[in-house]
């Protein structure tokens, strides 16, 4: 089993939640520009997204052996996904600030750009965590997992900032994201079972982990109880906990190829 990488768990979940929140807020600003209701103003949502992104970035520093070198992580943009990730998330943060400071909060352009860049940043981040050493993750799956985190936490984080009229839409988006996340997270370990030895060992590690099933139960329970047109207050912490749990397992359970040296691959 690998280390939990708690700083990376916090960083990835918070930054992806922030991107989900920005995407929902951008959609709302488009709807308002089409004559919809923009009260209460989305200023607090922008601020919350910035705070989540900043907190996540701060947490990420703790996974470095030498935090002081963090500024140098942009040195290898030619080939290192970690360098590109730093650039993409920094640019997303800058656009969020621009959107927040825009007069009248009708900065549709900034909102759309921040949302699009945020989604791109999530995908770039996912490449950092799709290393060649882990065959089960050396593919598009980290991107899928990370986008699902943004899709689940986005509506859940946005709900408190939405007017009553928009609550049912957010609830529908949340339910759809939860269902897709549940299906994908249940199917993927089963698909890993049919891969090479290291992939199969990864699938077996997930299916044998009580914490994996606890996470699935929390997600399935939240989905079953997510009825009506408004998200209950208890649901946000529950969804954050199951995402943190899922991400911890993402770092802990995949099997590294080197573990199997001397045996068939």
């Amino acid at each position: 089993m690998n280390s939990m990488e708690l700083p990376l768990v916090i960083f990835t979940v918070l930054s992806q939640g922030a991107v989900g929140l920005v995407a929902l807020t951008a959609a709302r600003q488009w709807a308002a520009d089409g004559g919809g209701d923009l009260s209460p103003a989305p200023r607090t949502a922008w601020l919350t997204a910035m705070a989540l992104l900043a907190l996540g970035a701060f947490a990420a520093l703790f996974h470095l052996g030498h935090m002081g070198g963090a500024v140098r992580t942009l040195a290898n943009l030619e080939s290192a996904w970690l360098s590109r990730e730093g650039l993409a998330l920094g640019a997303t943060g800058a656009l969020l600030l621009a959107g927040y400071l825009s007069p009248g909060l009708r900065a549709r352009g900034a909102a759309t750009a921040a949302a699009a860049l945020g989604v791109a940043a999530v995908l770039v981040t996912s490449m950092t965590y799709a290393p060649a050493g882990f065959p089960a993750l050396n593919n598009a799956l980290p991107g899928v997992f990370f986008l699902l985190t943004a899709a689940v936490l986005g509506p859940a984080l946005a709900a408190p900032f939405l007017p009553d009229a928009h609550q049912p839409v957010a609830m529908r988006a949340l339910r759809a994201a939860m269902l897709v996340s549940l299906v994908i997270n249940l199917v993927v370990p089963c698909v890993w079972l049919s891969g090479g030895t290291v992939m199969r060992l990864t699938g077996e590690a997930f299916l044998a982990a009580p914490l994996y099933w606890l996470r699935m139960a929390l997600l399935a329970g939240s989905y079953a109880l997510a009825r009506g047109g408004r998200m209950p207050a208890w649901m946000l912490p529950l969804l954050v906990v199951q995402e943190l749990l899922g991400r911890a397992l993402f770092f802990m359970l995949p099997v590294h190829a080197s573990v199997n040296i001397g045996n068939p691959f």
Partner: protein, 188 residues
């Protein structure tokens, strides 16, 4: 192909004594639990005999090293002779290379909190000496060669039990272990 030094591992000669791994540890004073060279037993599904066979592995000094590609601070460099060297002073301990290398060659030094790995003893090579592990092997199972020019008939790049991420093009070559001959009473 440009000059590329690589290890030649003769698994037919290797007796699994771990002297190479110990020699490396002694020269570089690796922390407890860290070994830049490791001697992996071949599993029974690959070598189903009473005798054992071994893969002595360190960094493969790949043609396209993923450690170098993914290091955000460019702590890795590839020399003219193909050796992939790591500058520990530049490393910030992000762990990217450790996760990325399918051979598990870079290790995280728990005290320094920076990565480290086999350097192919480039200082010894520059001085005209063999690497410490090669020098120490009592049965001559390890050597180095320029694989761009050496005649390597009978040597393989991907023996069973060795990861095969082709994009990296690892430089180590192997001679497969001999299959033991079963002698029955009637054969004698």
């Amino acid at each position: 192909m440009k000059k590329q030094l690589g290890f030649l591992v003769d698994t037919e000669k290797c007796i699994g004594c771990f002297t190479c791994a110990m020699a490396c540890k002694n020269v570089y004073h690796q922390q407890k639990g860290i070994a830049w060279r490791q001697v992996h037993p071949m599993g029974e599904s690959i070598y189903p005999h009473r005798e054992r066979a071994w893969l002595s592995l360190a960094c493969n000094h790949c043609e396209n090293p993923v450690c170098l590609e993914q290091c955000p601070v460019k702590a890795y460099a590839k020399r003219e002779d193909g050796i992939v060297v790591h500058d520990q002073d530049a490393c910030i301990g992000c762990g990217n290379c450790v996760r990325s290398c399918p051979y598990g060659a870079p290790k995280m030094n728990p005290v320094e909190k920076r990565a480290e790995k086999c350097s192919m003893c480039w200082q010894r090579i520059d001085a005209g000496l063999d690497p410490a592990c090669v020098h120490s092997c009592p049965v001559g199972a390890l050597s180095i060669a320029d694989i761009s020019t050496a005649r390597l008939d009978g040597w393989v790049q991907y023996p069973a039990g060795y990861p095969e991420p082709k994009r990296l093009n690892p430089s180590t070559r192997f001679k497969a272990p001999r299959q033991p001959r079963e002698i029955r009473r009637n054969d004698a």
